[in-house]
Subunit: 281 residues, 2 copies
């Protein structure tokens, strides 16, 4: 039986689709199981590398050596091994069972879901004049993933999901974000807690609204600023209809009255970046 | 049998899931069937309204009166009737069968796929200094839909899908675009034909590339300009690596080296809109 442990260096990889570790990993596709265990599943070389680079606790790694064809996947594995993780070798059939999404790059990890409290943002430390993104009631994992990539690219200091309608570490968010869900400073909170937190820190609150008078590009987005976007189906909740919330809009020159929420977030984040200039090291 | 024709005003709606018109509509979810017939299926009130408003030929409409709850859906139906279309009344079960996607608003149409040749762009007429978007090898219907919404919002004069890897009137593109796929001047062509067309019209070609020296916000995007984006997986094909193609980049300040393609398109389209000012009527 020693040949079936699946540890590298031992002759036989895990070949059984009913192996308890494999089954436990597969069950993490289920949100309830992720909530119960505090674990999620990460598929893809870049995604795993970024989780490891961000110091996320890796619980299990499944590797299929014959599928590990890219340099990126091999360096992800090396980073894991350096971080003290002992991967399980698996057969292609077992990898296919644990892999999530279309493209598979030979390794899948089970990781501990990071803390997403507003307190943690504080502990991580924010610059004196932070640029913060807020997305309310975001629902589609693909949109949240794209928003995280834009937050990463535009150099946001934090992203807050207010009343999210998807769990932030849903495997589809992880994939769609290309792993930036682990590297962007990310919090989830109620809208009330988000507003209170921004106000306590005297962050200027700028909210995208189709009926705003001023264009975002005509509004000063420098200094300590939060850029807030509502959901596509319902817009922003009433809590944002407050005298200290500055409404801005994007030009809408065609027949539709709104952009895809991830597109609107990208435009706003990058408009703020343009106005603020590149960060100084 | 006269009670089963499904025409409004007659007592009985189409109730059979095997009704040949219903089956023909359902088959349009299949790309091959769309290619064979030149027809596609449009679900949703806004989507149908925008198709009708754009003068798209409507072949069939299925309406379930008890599901037609929104004002938007009722006005879409009125617009259809004004346009001379005679809708088929269907039962909720039949509507569920023809409806595409999660949300259903009580009506589904079968429409003729518009011509997407570059010649048609010409015939539709472009302003003397057009702003044109080009997306190469776009693959995901959700991304193409979001790009169409951004093209609509930013007031692009045309969008060209070069070597698209999805059919432009895929029902998922129609939904994700909220029907703007019918209202944006849209063409599909090979990369070679697209380049030749742009060059013949002396349109300045500006391509997003991660390795470009200059930021898009530092580059003049006024005048006659095409903004070109490559696919996420492969970037731009070699044809765009030409002396008359101006490379630009967006700031990438985090760990990732690219944005989601629809996010990048939105940022570029709106940066051009900002520089160009609002269009004069």
């Amino acid at each position: 039986m020693s040949g079936s442990t699946g540890r590298p260096g031992t002759p036989a990889p895990i070949a059984s689709l009913h192996n308890p570790r494999v089954l436990a990993a597969v069950r993490l596709r289920d949100r309830r199981r992720r909530d119960e265990t505090g674990l999620t599943i990460v598929d893809g070389a870049r995604e795993v590398s970024r989780a490891v680079g961000a110091g996320v606790a890796v619980e299990e790694v499944f590797v299929c050596p014959s599928r590990l064809t890219s340099d990126e996947a091999r360096s992800a594995l090396e980073a894991l091994v350096r971080a003290g993780v002992r991967p399980w070798q698996v057969t292609p059939a077992v990898l296919d069972k644990v892999a999530f999404g279309e493209r598979s790059e030979g390794l899948v990890a089970v990781v501990r879901i990071p803390d997403t409290s507003l307190d943690r943002l504080e502990r991580l430390g924010l610059p004196p004049e932070p640029l913060i993104g807020v997305v309310e009631s975001v629902e589609k994992p693909g949109n949240l993933g794209a928003i995280l990539r834009s937050a990463d690219g535009a150099g946001l200091d934090a992203l807050i999901a207010a009343e999210p309608r998807t769990d932030l570490f849903n495997p589809n968010v992880i994939r769609a974000s290309l792993g930036t869900v682990f590297t962007v400073r990310l919090a989830a909170a109620s809208t009330a807690a988000t507003l209170a937190w921004l106000r306590a820190r005297q962050v200027r609150i700028v909210a995208a609204r189709p009926d705003a008078r001023h264009l975002a590009s005509e509004t000063d987005l420098r200094g300590s600023v939060a850029l807030v976007l509502g959901s596509e189906s319902e817009g922003l909740s009433e809590a944002w209809d407050a005298p200290d919330v500055v409404p801005v809009r994007l030009p809408m020159l065609g027949v539709a009255d709104s952009l895809n929420v991830a597109a609107a977030a990208a435009v706003l984040f990058y408009e703020a970046r343009r106005q603020r200039g590149m960060p100084t090291a």
